[in-house]
């Protein structure tokens, strides 16, 4: 990367290091330690400890990597495994990628602003890798790729910067699991992700989070989608996250580009989650959809959505549904639509409350007990088939959801 660019980024980051984010609790980043980074590189994910494997599997990582086109694992700040098993699919740490590709600077902090807030600034100033995943033109991943960002050391900060590029006409499916070691009580995960979906390319990005007690999480994501490109984001969080805030931006700059954000979030007591998606519809024929399903069993969840129709001939729809299953939980839906011209078609629906009595009784009239009826409705509410995943991945995620669900039903 050119020195000038680097200096410029550093300068902007320094100026933003105390800049509060627009949403979410303001976190003091100085309290986190630097990890010691005493991890070895692992050739085979099966060689990880059983304890660790269990954590990885819980967030959708297949440690045997049988039906995967590649894998990437980073422990704390160090890349501990990376492999691509398909020609035309590149998987490596972003540090390595920056050395390898001069052109990468054209993608560096282009979808996310380095000075967006203190978290992006912190990532720039303390960057520890992250993944670089790229499909070459026309290449379609046979199986999804998997990536895992793992927080192993107590009270540390993980600062990753990911770059994902789907070249023209390629197809890329990624499943990402982010989690902590079983004994980690406190820590922070800062993850910048920049996606570039080129002309006619398709990217599906499925992210499962599984955090511990007092972990704070601040992902910062930006997506550029070119002509006929499709970006599909699925986010699943079913375990406690002390404080999580994210609000990815999708810039739909190409004609007939598509963006879809599906979110399934459950917040137990002690969880505070503020999550949303923003879509800028900047070219004719652009289509965006945001669907979020949230459940509170005692925690707080805010689901946001902001759709901005900037040119004629765009379409967008948003659905935020929230269930409150306990006396104390808070579910809040904040949908926002913004049309800059007359010829846009934008709509939203939002509903928050307990499970509708009408629905429970309808099933009871077919012979189900009240509890059976409720769990059927909740299972339906959390149905991942809305995510449009490849079948074997859908089955795996269904299993993950069902296992976690037992915990709060």
């Amino acid at each position: 990367m050119s020195h000038k660019l680097l200096d410029d980024l550093t300068e902007r980051a320094k100026l933003a290091i105390n800049k509060k984010a627009a949403f979410g609790e303001d976190i003091d980043l100085t309290k986190y330690l630097k990890p010691s980074n005493k991890h070895d590189y692992v050739e085979d994910l099966e060689k990880l400890s059983d304890e660790e494997k269990e954590r990885l599997i819980a967030v959708g990582v297949d440690t045997k990597a049988e039906q995967r086109s590649g894998s990437f694992v980073q422990h704390d700040t160090k890349v501990s495994h990376r492999r691509s098993t398909q020609e035309g699919v590149e998987v490596m740490g972003t540090g390595e990628a920056l050395e390898k590709y001069d052109w990468l600077q054209d993608y560096w902090w282009k979808a996310v602003a380095v000075d967006q807030d203190k978290y992006t600034a912190h990532v720039e100033l303390h960057q520890n890798d992250g993944y670089f995943i790229r499909t070459l033109p026309g290449v379609k991943t046979v199986y999804p790729l998997q990536a895992c960002l793992y927080l192993r050391e107590e009270s540390t900060a993980q600062n990753v910067h990911n770059i994902i590029i789907a070249e023209e006409g390629s197809e890329l499916h990624i499943i990402t699991g982010c989690t902590t070691g079983p004994h980690v009580k406190e820590g922070i995960h800062l993850g910048v992700s920049e996606f570039y979906v080129k002309k006619g390319a398709k990217v599906s990005f499925t992210m499962i989070h599984g955090w511990n007690e007092n972990v704070a999480v601040r992902p910062r994501t930006g997506v550029f989608i070119e002509e006929d490109g499709i970006f599909l984001s699925n986010y699943i969080l079913l375990k406690r996250a002390h404080s999580l805030q994210m609000y990815p931006n999708a810039y739909m700059v190409g004609k007939n580009s598509t963006a879809r954000f599906n979110t399934i979030i459950a917040v137990p007591e002690g969880s505070h989650v503020d999550s949303g998606a923003r879509t800028y519809l900047r070219a004719p024929g652009a289509k965006a959809e945001i669907i979020s399903r949230t459940i509170s069993t005692g925690g707080t969840v805010i689901s946001r959505g902001h759709m901005i129709g900037e040119v004629p001939g765009v379409k967008s729809h948003m659905e935020c549904n929230g269930l409150i299953l306990s006396e104390t939980g808070i579910v809040s839906a904040v949908p926002e639509l913004e049309g800059h011209v007359a010829d846009v078609e934008m709509s939203h629906e939002a509903a928050v409350g307990k499970i509708a009595k009408e629905e429970i009784e309808y099933l009871m009239a077919r012979g189900l007990s009240e509890d059976e009826a409720k769990s059927t409705i909740i299972r339906g509410f959390l149905d991942v088939s809305i995510m449009g995943l490849p079948p074997h991945l859908e089955a795996a995620i269904k299993k993950t959801v069902e296992t976690s669900q037992k915990g709060f039903m």
């Binding site: 009239a365 077919r366 012979g367 059927t376 409705i377």
Partner: protein
């Protein structure tokens, strides 16, 4: 099969039914007429056991057992089934799932689906964006899976085209075991305004629900004829003069 004795029902603090008496024997099909807002749906909901339809007096006997205080799902398990006038949508819960969950005694879902031409709806969220006719067909498919011995049908043919009425009629006849003669036990109570369903389903007795009571019983076709001729004020000119 079912007997209502002086049944009083309250909805949102207002008494809608002021003492309904009705007896339906095994193997009988009864029809309930009455103007909009008379309380027909209320009566069916109360028999089914919906808590919002509060029984404030009288009793419901089902096969001789007093079920007045029995919860909804236990009534369903005892063999009472209902097709709803306006069932709710449940997002994420598929139609095939509800049919499967309704099924007792392992009846084949495919059969019910085929019978009611439901194939294209099975993988959709139940009642989500269904047309009027599709709702009725999905309701009946659920009942076919559930196999109740006593069915409550709330306007099964309203909003249904002629071809589909015949489809529904066939399904209702199965539910009511119309193909059996001697061994038939199943019975039902059907609400209808138009009476179209009577062209497909043989009914034994008709009732009129008016002003919160069911004052009389008669031949369903004759009653329908009188209502069509004279409106719901038929009671005034009814020859039985009850």
């Amino acid at each position: 099969m079912l007997e209502l004795k002086d049944l009083k029902v309250e909805v949102s603090g207002k008494e809608i039914l002021h003492g309904v008496n009705l007896k339906i024997n095994d193997a009988e099909t009864h029809v309930l007429f009455g103007p909009n807002g008379a309380g027909k749906t209320t009566l069916l909901m109360a028999i089914m056991g919906f808590p919002e339809y509060k029984i404030t007096g009288g009793s419901i006997l089902f096969n001789g057992e007093d079920i007045t205080d029995l919860p909804l799902h236990e009534r369903a398990r005892k063999g009472i089934g209902m097709s709803f006038q306006r069932p709710p949508t449940i997002k994420g819960v598929k139609t095939h799932q509800v049919i499967e969950l309704s099924a007792r005694n392992g009846i084949s879902i495919d059969e019910a689906a085929k019978e009611l031409n439901l194939g294209h709806l099975l993988n959709r969220d139940v009642n989500d964006g269904f047309s009027g006719g599709e709702i009725k067909r999905s309701e009946l498919a659920q009942l076919m899976a559930q196999q109740p011995s006593f069915v409550l049908l709330d306007e099964p043919e309203s909003g249904v085209d002629l071809e589909n009425i015949s489809l529904l009629g066939g399904a209702i006849n199965k539910l009511l075991q119309k193909d059996m003669k001697r061994q038939r036990v199943n019975s039902g109570l059907i609400i209808t305004h138009t009476g179209y369903i009577l062209d497909y389903v043989d009914a034994d007795v008709g009732h009129l629900l008016i002003e919160g009571i069911v004052p009389c019983a008669g031949n369903p076709r004759e009653m329908l004829h009188h209502i069509k001729e004279n409106g719901y004020e038929v009671c005034a000119i009814c020859p039985t003069n009850c």
